[in-house]
């Protein structure tokens, strides 16, 4: 009996003894009983242990870390502060930029095209240096051409602190990328919505504010959350502008301290952990937000487009998430509800 594989279908590979096959079988049986998540946790644990062993062998100074981690971690507030302000700036720029990209006006279209092309086409670090180093030079020389209230003003606005330069740079850069997100979001609102608003006599502004943008937000919010998370990591580039210690992010604090004490590995690991923790936390919230706003209605609102959209996406009609559970529902019949596809490749586990 033992030479015969008790398993279904595949027998033991040729050359292996029956005992091995039996062991393998028992291992497989055992493995099936462990939940997948537990296995996953084990893999992570093993990875951490391996690194711990390596660091231990490399005479990792945990005492130094205990003494100095607070100084590095305090930089998180700078990261959050700069990211939050910059994402607001980026949202404003992206709104304007996307309206420009969708405009028939040659000035609006041209300006927004130049803006997105330049800021998507050059590295963020170059832009930061342009704003921090090159702009004051331009400002100083330009100021000479003007008289005093204006001269003074030009010099002030072109001479930015590292943090200000960072906020301006991040806003401009992310605004350019998010212009495309916003444009796609606005375009996802069906043309019929626009026409219905116009037929009521709405102005362009009223149409955008009341009808188009509220619907576009559903598509815009999830990827904007992703941009925010990416931006938090990019704030580390501000280190190269050399802010004062109080205004320094974890990375700059870590490099300063690590170099001084020749504890680069320890210091940088603390800094990396800061960013990692931040992104993990905000990714968690972003997922929640995403599932909340991602539940939506059929755009266009008609029976026929609903059916079309449904078949396009391969989603059955009437699959409406929480909306379906509202009591006292009439015949949802022709309309149908589906969930909008969430435009984020990380949604699926």
């Amino acid at each position: 009996m033992k030479t015969e594989s008790p398993g279904v279908g595949t027998g033991p590979p040729p050359g292996r003894s029956g005992r091995d096959a039996g062991l393998r079988e028992r291992l497989e049986q055992f493995s099936l009983r462990i939940p997948y998540r537990a296995k996953l946790a084990l893999v992570w644990l093993v990875i951490f242990v391996i690194f711990a062993v390596i660091f231990g062998a490399a005479q990792f100074d945990t005492q130094w870390m205990r003494d100095n981690w607070v100084f590095v971690v305090k930089g998180i507030w700078v990261t959050i502060f700069i990211s939050v302000i910059s994402i607001f700036g980026a949202v404003v720029l992206a709104t304007l930029g996307s309206l420009g990209r969708l405009s028939k006006n040659p000035i609006a279209y041209g300006v927004s095209g130049f803006y997105t092309s330049f800021f998507r086409g050059t590295p963020l670090i170059v832009q930061l240096f342009l704003i921090y180093l090159a702009l004051p030079q331009v400002g100083t020389n330009l100021a000479l051409q003007f008289r005093d209230p204006l001269r003074d003003w030009i010099q002030t606005v072109t001479l930015l602190s590292p943090v200000m330069a960072g906020i301006v740079g991040l806003s401009l850069n992310y605004g350019a990328y998010m212009t495309e997100i916003f444009r796609a979001g606005i375009q996802s609102v069906s043309h019929g919505q626009s026409e219905a608003a116009e037929a009521l006599g709405m102005t362009y502004k009223q149409k955008m504010r009341r009808i188009v943008l509220p619907q576009a937000l559903r598509v815009i919010i999830p990827p904007t959350g992703n941009e925010f998370i990416a931006m938090m990591k990019d704030t580390a580039l501000l280190s190269f502008l050399g802010a004062a210690i109080f205004w320094s992010d974890p990375f700059r604090r870590a490099t300063l301290l690590g170099r001084a004490d020749f504890k680069n590995m320890e210091a940088l690991l603390v800094a990396a952990a800061c960013y990692w923790a931040l992104t993990a936390i905000f990714t968690f919230f972003q997922k929640k937000l995403e599932t909340r706003v991602g539940k939506g209605y059929v755009r266009g609102g008609g029976g026929a487009p609903a059916a079309k959209l449904s078949s396009d996406l391969g989603v059955p009609l009437g699959h409406g998430g929480t909306l379906m559970n509202v009591p006292g529902g009439g015949p949802g019949g022709g309309a149908g509800m589906i969930e909008l596809p969430v435009e984020n490749e990380e949604t699926d586990r």
């Binding site: 037929a199 009521l200 619907q215 609102g301 949802g332 022709g334």
Partner: protein, 255 residues
Amino acid sequence: MIGHNGEVVVHVEDVHKSFGHLEVLRGINMQVHKGEVVVIFGRSGSGKSTLLRCINFLEDPTSGTIEVDGIRLVGGHRTKQQRDNIRQLRIRAGMVFQQFNLFPHMTTIENVMEGPVTVKDTPEHDARAMGLELLAKVGLADKADESPIRLSGGQQQRVAIARALAMEPKVMLFDEPTSALDPELIGEVLAVMKSLATDLHMTMMVVTHEMGFAREVANRMMFFHEGVILEEGPPDQLFNHTQNPETRTFLDAVL
């Protein structure tokens, strides 16, 4: 003609419309009088929907003049002044679309209130009262706080009619209002449209293939063919006494 007192609400003069090289409207002239119901029919591509969309400038006429309730506009250019006039004209011409185009992020009552509140600055309280009245008129008083996506196609179209009526238009434009509906839902929409004509004496221009509705409600019918009005007259004339072979062929096909 029956059902109107002579006052002209819509006046279309020599309207042309081209999309690139394709001339969809080739000189349309018509007048619609107050209280009149005009049914426009014809093959797809004959220009009937385009005319309706030109009347409230969802499409810019290439040339010609359109006048709705005293607001007179010349096609072919768009100045700031012209844009303001277009909005004034649109307020006077309610539009009902084939695909309903209700605002899915608002409730039914909010859909109906949206025009008056945003465009006419009607106080919210008054707009709500009027909206509820209109929803009652189209038989949907109990759906006021429902999301439109939870309504059937027929119900959605009735809400869309109420939304257009809320602007107190001088003329209602119906662009194939029942073409996107399941057959069993068409009747309820036509019934509402009929009551608009008979109870409110609403001036209406209806692009439709519902010949039963036309026979029963229309004062006048227009047969569109290749961008011109090939024949017009009261339903009885077109249905029973037409001499035009094109009209005859088309009606034989749809009846």
